[in-house]
């Protein structure tokens, strides 16, 4: 029964967070630390800091961490399933509806208006990652610029570049 409660709690969090993982953090903190006392503030902040630097969606990482800390491996699976379920259900509904709407002029006009917004959001992502992840250090910026030049000069495979930069990070950062 406790696992069901864990599932529902994370389901709720998944359903009400718009705009990705960063938006989820304050809601998680209020629910899990302040209201339910499932973990301490200190542990919570520790999890968040690790979730931000490990691979995968931040919210999924946090859910897995907290699920594990409250109920072991099973807790981790249940909390992860909980946080991903609402997206899954909603997107299925939206995708089915979109199939029917795709040719409609209003829909196409909406999408035409969104394209420039995506560019703005990508620019803000660059800013967010650099300002949060580079810790006001000049070296990562220089590495990014070098990586960019390598990328356009040699048309390197995206994940190969990441592995190379990871290795560079171990020795030089």
């Amino acid at each position: 029964m406790f696992l069901l409660k864990v599932y529902l709690e994370f389901f709720k969090i998944g359903a009400f967070t718009f705009g990705g993982g960063q938006a989820m953090i304050p809601i998680l903190q209020r629910e899990l630390v302040t209201n339910l006392h499932w973990i301490t503030t200190e542990n919570f902040l520790h999890f968040v800091s690790i979730a931000e630097i490990t691979p995968g969606p931040i919210s999924v990482n946090i859910a897995t961490f907290i699920g594990y800390s409250i109920h072991g491996v099973l807790g981790a699976i249940v909390s992860t399933a909980g946080v991903a379920s609402p997206s899954f259900i909603l997107i299925l509904l939206v995708a089915t509806a979109m199939k029917k709407l795709q040719a409609h002029p209003v829909y196409r006009a909406f999408m035409a208006g969104i394209k420039p917004v995506i560019i703005a959001l990508l620019i803000s992502t660059i800013y967010i990652i650099a300002s949060r992840g580079f810790h006001n250090n000049i070296l990562p910026y220089i590495f990014s610029i070098i990586a960019f030049i390598v990328l356009i000069k040699f048309r390197l495979n995206a994940s190969l570049l990441l592995l190379i930069m990871g290795a560079v990070g171990i020795f030089l950062l």
Binding site: T17, I50, E52, I53, A76, S87, A130, F143
Partner: protein, 185 residues
């Protein structure tokens, strides 16, 4: 015409995307674009941008939204399940291993340095994708105005991204519907 994907390949691609997504949902766009929209052409450029936009305005983690969406587009409900599992499993496995074996991960500097290095590569790749997408959009008054307005909303007003998307889409409906009506009739 776009190629059809099979279930194993779909799972593999999303597992791979989940593994290399560092720094939030948007960080996976370069790899996702390369794996799905560029080289193999499973989905078109316009479709990719639509999926991205809808994933942003729907609640939940963007990575999970995009996986479910693309999985559904490619292989129906089964595809959505496979893609979602694929994108979530690497996180689940990595975090579980960390929780079980490295309780003091903050002290594990080699791994942190590795991840910091990857982050510099991700920034370079997002810059690349941003330029790539920008090149494919017509430079006209409408697009430029929305771009500038969106930047102001994000950086100065600090509006939540969903609203930024809804404002852009709303302006699209306001000024572009007539144009698309004429095209289709």
């Amino acid at each position: 015409m776009n190629k059809k994907i099979n279930a194993f390949k779909l799972f593999g691609i999303f597992f791979y995307i989940g593994l290399f997504t560092l720094g939030g949902g948007y960080a996976m766009i370069p790899i996702m674009k390369q794996k799905l929209a560029a080289k193999n052409k499973y989905i078109g450029e316009d479709d990719f941008i639509e999926v991205l936009a809808v994933s942003q305005i729907t609640p939940g983690p963007i990575a999970v939204n995009m996986a479910t969406f693309i999985g559904y587009k490619e292989l129906g409900i089964l595809g959505s399940i496979i893609a979602t599992l694929g994108v979530v499993l690497p996180s689940l496995i990595i975090i579980l291993l960390l929780s079980i074996y490295f309780t003091g991960i903050t002290g594990n500097t080699v791994m942190l340095k590795f991840f910091s290095g990857i982050l510099t590569g991700i920034v370079a790749e997002i810059v690349y994708v941003t330029i790539d997408i920008t090149k494919k959009i017509k430079i006209n008054f409408f697009n430029l105005s929305i771009l500038i307005l969106s930047l102001v909303e994000i950086f100065i007003i600090k509006l939540n991204p969903i609203y930024v998307i809804l404002v852009g889409g709303g302006l699209g409906i306001l000024f572009k519907t007539k144009e698309f009506k004429n095209v289709s009739s």
